[in-house]
Amino acid sequence: MTQGIDSLGRVLVIDDDAPLAEMLTIVLRQEGFESQVCGRGDQAVAAFRDYKPDLVLLDLMLPGKDGIDVCKEIRSTSGVPIVMLTAKSDTIDVVVGLESGADDYVVKPFKPKELVARIRARIRRLEHPVQESLTIGDLAIDVAGHAVTRDGVQINLTPLEFDLLVCLARKPWQVFTREVLLEQVWGYRHAADTRLVNVHVQRLRSKIEHDPENPEVVVTVRGVGYKAGASKLPA
């Protein structure tokens, strides 16, 4: 790791608007992050491989290659948190971005503090590994080892999906509303966009459920939210 001792993490900024990108690096530096800028979509994946960031800030409209495609490509090889920067808050754009693998999104114009809060929330989880073993449905979770296994076979989850699953598994008796999940997993103070939760629960289910249409691990409680399915492993 080439990371400086005082740095909180490395952020790759992928945005074609040079003034905004520069402003972002200024703000990030003030907040204690290292950062690098990439201005083209078709160079983004290479920059990602070279820089090995802890988090990616990704604009959706890029020259060379669409932000959605960049997001999919990064996600196919890495679970690094991706925060989208979008100018469109319309449902369809946000949902397409989230479905392509982004963990969170910020709508322009955003307040710098808001952005930094999101970045911290996504990076913070790397800091305190706790030795803890949980079960949910027929899955075993090793929190410190960051591993989810079914019958000894490991299932690959992104950090965010892992956090979501751990959050539900820690309190299997509790029904989590979307707002509570937003606060605990994403670090939102005020209730924001519950579509975030819906999309990520769908993505999580597609990886861990036997039949995503009839989920047994992450169960929907109609009109309230989600809860963990009954544990099927011997304690």
Binding site: L20, Q30, K88, D90, D193
Partner: protein, 532 residues
């Protein structure tokens, strides 16, 4: 059961009658034709009968004259020595009965006349066998009380029972003959039946009825065919119009030939093409508008983000600036907030205008919404010296709605109330029933002048142009709220009186898509209503 099915049939029949031009035209044509045919038929029948009867009467009278003359000459040829009147009468009447009987004519001889009124019941009457004497009309009998001239009358010829012949209409001709034996006059009645004429008349009647009936069928058929030719293109036009209205804009009518109906079809098609073109144009415009909105949003937001961040950096560092520059950084910050709010409101409005706004419906508890909004607005309210209070039941007041939009509506109403409360308390009332849920925001500030309740939702409208908007309103909040409410099929209404304050009420249907009939909260606050 039978009654119900009958009334059902009747109703169906009436519906068909009301809906079908064809049925009405055919029916009225047939009715009028029937009237004309009946009048003509009746007239023809009348003429025929009169002609037949006149001819018969003429013939009967002529025959009677011949017969009576025959009888007279026979009487004259009898030697004058014989004075047995009864025998003479016998001689007179018997050959007549014989001859007349072969022609179907009946004979009655009575008399003598003059001395006393004729009476057919007396024994001296001689007549054809089987005849009922009542067949001789009374008027004809009385004629001979005063006259000896020939006379005739219509009658109905009856026959006595054993004979069995049916009665027929006929003509009775009466004459007098003088009997040489006693010099007295005797009345001689000849009764001519008109059965042949009756048969002819029956035949003519039947023929007329048959012809009239056939004529009516023909008229009905013709009318049906003709109206069908006119009505079927109209029906086609109706079906085409219905399909056009249902959104099948490519639908056109069939044009055949060059007549009026073909021209109707052509005009109809031109109209449809015009409409289609207009709608396409509007759709294109709306698409462009949406594209523009989205482009503006991206193009404007990226530089604004940079400015915003730069402003924030300056704002955070303002302590190290001289007072003037520090104040400038603060102003930059607040005005950026305002600019940002205005931009997002404008984009929201243009999204509504483009019809691009979509609902994300879920069960929303309006009590939670009210508490959340009040909690978030409390800092601003405190700055203005306004206290906020929520009045709601403990149980949830639910509505199927888009929580983001509903919260925005309530927030706008509360901010608006804080702006106009003049430091007096603002109350948020939540109430609902099984049909509708409502939130009302009541302030006790300046209120609204008459007529202002209607324009309060207009874009950039200000109650008082000189008034400051210190809570950062953009002037679009209430307009957006109204659009949001309409999207839900709800109501957003304002009440206000100068000096009494105002109340804004949001009413949403309990279930999405349900029509609203009433609101659980009165628009005029109860304390004001009591006083007035």
């Amino acid at each position: 059961m039978a009654g119900r099915s009958f009334s059902g049939t009747l109703r169906r029949g009436l519906t068909f009658w009301r809906r079908s031009v064809q049925a009405r035209v055919v029916a009225s044509t047939v009715l009028m034709s029937a009237l004309v045919v009946s009048v003509v038929g009746w007239f023809l029948l009348q003429q025929t009968r009169d002609g037949l009867v006149d001819a018969k009467v003429d013939r009967a009278v002529a025959e009677a004259v011949t017969d009576v003359n025959d009888a007279r000459s026979r009487l004259a040829s009898i030697p004058g020595t014989d004075d047995d009147a009864a025998a003479q009468l016998q001689q007179l009447v018997e050959p007549m009965i014989g001859r007349a009987g072969s022609r179907g004519v009946s004979v009655v001889l009575a008399g003598p006349v003059g001395a006393e009124p004729l009476d057919l019941d007396s024994s001296g009457v001689r007549y054809s066998e089987g005849l009922d004497l009542g067949s001789v009309p009374e008027s004809l009998l009385r004629h001979f009380d005063s006259s000896l001239d020939q006379a005739w009358a219509f009658t109905r010829i009856e026959y006595v029972e054993p004979d069995g012949r049916a009665s027929v209409p006929g003509v009775a001709v009466g004459s007098t003959v003088q009997l040489p034996a006693d010099g007295e006059y005797y009345a001689l009645f000849l009764l001519f039946p008109m059965d042949q004429e009756q048969d002819t008349l029956d035949l003519v009647t039947r023929a007329l009825f048959a012809a009239g009936g056939l004529l009516l069928v023909l008229v009905a058929g013709l009318t049906w065919v003709v109206t069908r030719q006119v009505v079927s293109p109209i029906r086609m036009a109706r079906r085409t119009a219905e399909r056009l209205a249902a959104g099948h804009l490519e639908e056109r009518m069939w044009v055949r030939g060059d007549d009026d109906l073909a021209r109707l079809a052509t005009s109809f098609n031109q109209m449809a093409s015009g409409l289609q073109r207009q709608i396409r144009q509007l759709e294109e415009l709306s698409r462009l508008q949406r594209r523009f909105t989205s482009d503006v949003s991206h193009e404007l937001r990226t530089p604004l983000t940079t400015v915003r961040m730069a402003g924030d950096v300056l704002h955070d560092a303002r302590d190290s600036f001289d007072p003037g520059t520090a104040r400038a950084a603060e102003l930059l910050q607040t005005e950026l907030d305002r600019f940002e709010g205005l931009l997002s409101d404008l984009l929201e409005i243009s999204r509504f205008d483009a019809g691009a706004a979509v609902l994300d419906v879920d069960d929303v508890n309006l009590v939670d919404v009210a508490h959340r909004v009040v909690e978030m607005s409390t800092p601003v309210a405190r700055q203005r010296g306004v206290t906020l209070r929520v009045t709601a039941l403990s149980e949830p007041v639910l509505a199927e709605a888009d929580s983001r939009r509903v919260e925005r509506i309530v927030r706008n109403l509360v901010n608006n109330a804080i702006d106009h409360a003049d430091g007096r308390p603002v109350e948020v009332i939540v109430h609902g029933d099984e049909h509708a849920s409502a939130v009302a925001v009541r302030d006790h500030g300046v209120g609204l002048a008459p007529g202002e309740a209607a324009v309060a939702f207009n874009r950039f409208w200000r109650a008082d142009p000189a008034r400051a908007r210190s809570s950062g309103g953009t002037g679009l909040g209430l307009s957006i709220s109204l659009e949001d409410t309409h999207l839900h099929g709800g109501w957003l209404q304002a009440w206000g009186v100068r000096g009494e304050g105002s109340q804004f009420r949001l009413t949403l249907p309990r279930r999405a898509g349900m029509p609203l009939r009433h609101s659980p909260i009165p628009l005029v606050p109860s304390d004001v209503e009591r006083r007035s």
